[in-house]
């Protein structure tokens, strides 16, 4: 891992921790949940109250959506940012949303608690620098084609702007397997724990592309040592404007969140002696 000055463990012996809302990322388990896209006030608020009650501590929702086709739904943009603001006020949950354009970073940073850089922009260097300069926590997803070294080099762009608050998010790499949308590389979690001091979370929704696989892969990510998860939940998955195959229903999310948090406690809370 040549050329990495700030992201390696050897240069910063303590695990990076920082507060967002009521939790300390890197120390407390981070459960981020919400819809792929913000579609309406009603959709956002009802989903947010539900995921909060089920144990989520951060809300996610897309305002500017990177879509493969120019003719697909591109997100509600600024209107969605206002809805995210409302969600925060009403539920108390911090919010994370994606940035795609360096010209929008300032605007999004006014409304969001965490800025997400998506898989397609992992090596969008002007965006990385601009995000770094906001000082806001950055959730940096892995490119579907990216080695761990390249991913950490992208994190290094943010840290080198003076912003140490980066969360790495494994969200699946591209392979030849058609059954899943991507191949969630859970070995990246313990590997990164060996290499870097930054917190690492997993996205089993994009990682598999199939709601039926999300609960198992969430538990697997926790067992692999993830500091958190980001999961897609929609109050009516079959009506979602994007990525409906991978969104959990409220019922499925409630059960899954319970299992996830129980497993995290089982693994991390010291057992009492006799």
């Amino acid at each position: 891992m040549d050329g990495l000055k700030l992201t390696l463990k050897q240069h910063h012996t303590q695990q990076t921790c920082f507060s967002v809302g009521d939790i300390t990322i890197g120390r407390d388990f981070t459960l981020i949940a919400g819809p792929c896209s913000i579609e309406s006030e009603k959709q956002a608020l009802s989903t947010a109250f539900m995921v909060k009650e089920a144990g989520a501590n951060i809300f996610r929702g897309g305002a500017f959506k990177p879509r493969t086709s120019p003719y697909s739904f591109q997100g509600l943009g600024e209107q969605a940012l206002k809805i995210l603001n409302l969600v925060r006020q009403e539920t108390g949950l911090p919010v994370v949303t994606e940035i795609m354009d360096p010209r929008h970073v300032g605007l999004v940073a006014e409304f969001a608690d965490i800025l997400q850089i998506g898989t397609r922009n992992m090596q969008n260097f002007p965006l990385l620098r601009e995000a770094g300069q906001t000082g806001k926590p950055i959730l940096l997803k892995r490119g579907v084609y990216a080695t761990l070294q390249e991913w950490l080099s992208s994190a290094e762009y943010i840290l080198s702007e003076g912003n140490p608050h980066v969360i790495l998010c494994e969200r699946g790499i591209r392979t030849f397997e058609p059954y899943t949308r991507n191949t969630l590389d859970l070995s990246a979690i313990p590997a990164l724990k060996e290499i870097t001091h930054l917190p690492v979370i997993a996205d089993p929704s994009h990682g598999t592309g199939r709601a039926s696989l999300v609960p198992s892969m969430s538990l697997a990510a926790v067992a692999a040592g993830a500091d958190g998860l980001i999961m897609e939940v929609h109050y009516k998955p079959e009506e979602a404007a994007s990525d409906k195959d991978q969104a959990l229903s409220p019922a499925l999310f409630r059960q899954s969140a319970r299992d996830i948090l129980d497993l995290y406690r089982y693994l991390h809370i010291p057992k009492k002696g006799p």
Copy 2:
């Protein structure tokens, strides 16, 4: 999943279970451990007693080794089979070893309780048929390039010979990532659980190629729903004749096996009510 008559869940509604030694594979947790290669009586026996005491219920060890180079150690062959026989007699553990050549299948079947077909031979169709005809349980590893459909088609070759006792073993696929030897595709576990009635285990040793990642990825595989694990253990990893970077030491295996079995019980044994 076209063209699969025997391996799909829809054709066989019950999970496949069968006895090997004292356990029922597909129902009890299967913990297979041992060295990559059988190197000597002493190495095999001491490792076998150790892994048994730590909780393993099947012993693994290579007699005929598929090696990329013709000049690498090719295994002790028939001598190793006799050592495996001795291990079974002395420890009571059933043994699994790899077959590579259809002409050796009968010989190996005399000595081994389970026949392994390795990743390079997943589509060695004469070998699959020959293995099927023995009636012995077959541990079928996934090809590093194989889709789930292709893997199940190879299982179908064995089942179509009248042998229903197949264990599928996810052992990592080939991707562009150099940090790990392969990329262990844990999503294959819940995916296969949706598709097939066959038991599914994982090989975190070949899946990662790094001993330091094996404990975490073992727990992750259990959390993903694996019916078992196959792990490389060597009493002196630094002296192993093959694959020394991925072998656990006895101390590391003992700790890891305890954590694995505890997690399995946590996940599968119903919690008592108040």
Copy 3:
């Protein structure tokens, strides 16, 4: 190929052709050559005169460089744009250079004849839209992970802004092979010729990462039906500030260009009868 309205052949039966400098791209063979990065006036001018004399009809040179590490040479920026302007004035060659940031597109469009969107930005949608709006010809490289469908969807972003002047550039995909930097997918050329009316060129320099393979792969691209090539040439490859392993020396480029142009004429100029 769903959701593509403008890039498919079925919607636009004639091959797209447009003039840049003295040539018509899509009809004449396009030979783009020059250094990875513009390093100085002297380096740029001397390379430009040389490649022109050898048969190149467009000059390439990076001003803003997308580099994996924040600590690598990032290009001379605006100073390089002025050098490119000088190259055009002195040699008469049109110039192509990469854009990375939507905020720089207007500036770069003042100086460059063709705007390049690199592999890391193939799905940088704000950049695609901004580039589309300039009306300038766009050289769109394939993402190292991108399917043909995704690549054409990115072209569709540009065309849907009213800009039909897109050149597709195959530059290698990421695979497991370590001998080459990428795997140049030449089958993309005849495949795209079946699907789209846009011109298609190849980049054997990034596609292989090894100067020794560039001449053969250039000929292969021409034989596969490419409308042109983009090649890295440096007057002293061993002193190049970036990508020195893949740059051709002047002597090697001269020989290679001669062979390329001869082969193109052999394949495309009708043979006379007896």
Copy 4:
């Protein structure tokens, strides 16, 4: 390229050449053509006469077919070997056919002039050894997942049995692209020419899986430096028992063979001076 003693150029400075029928492989252009599977005397003979007339100098046809599914057509076996024998007698063309099982190698070697080891068996080490011992020329296809180093290590297995007559055949690697069946890695051709003294040919039929791409990719392989090609031709592609999408019709093959042989002569026969 560690551990390769016999296949590297540095150990054997002359290009390997050997006679098969009327040609010297490694020196003359090798054009192998014929159907995927031998289906009948009539199909084999009529195809063989046609490809010979069109310029092919070796006939191919499968007797034992490696099929993903146990329920697919498995080839006519010994009956097909007799048909191949007849083809040789009637047309004078040498024949190549695939071996899958070490127990059949002796039998196939009685009938075939070249033994093919297919992509799925590239690391079937007992088969490699057995094939090496026959002393017959071996056409060794690349595994869809294999690095150049691994492929050459498999060739080394054959050479280390005392058989220097190996032809390497690039036939496409597995990537994420669904438009083509595989991705034909033509850069393997000049790369192998740097590394090894063995002849290298390409298989554009399996490499693309689409008959429409075969002519272009054949020319590209020749331009990349291939010593030959192996192509699937069927007198009625739509009725082929296997791989019908990639088989050329007689008309298409005749045109393609003419273009291929013309291009080879253009590239390899010294131009006369003025």
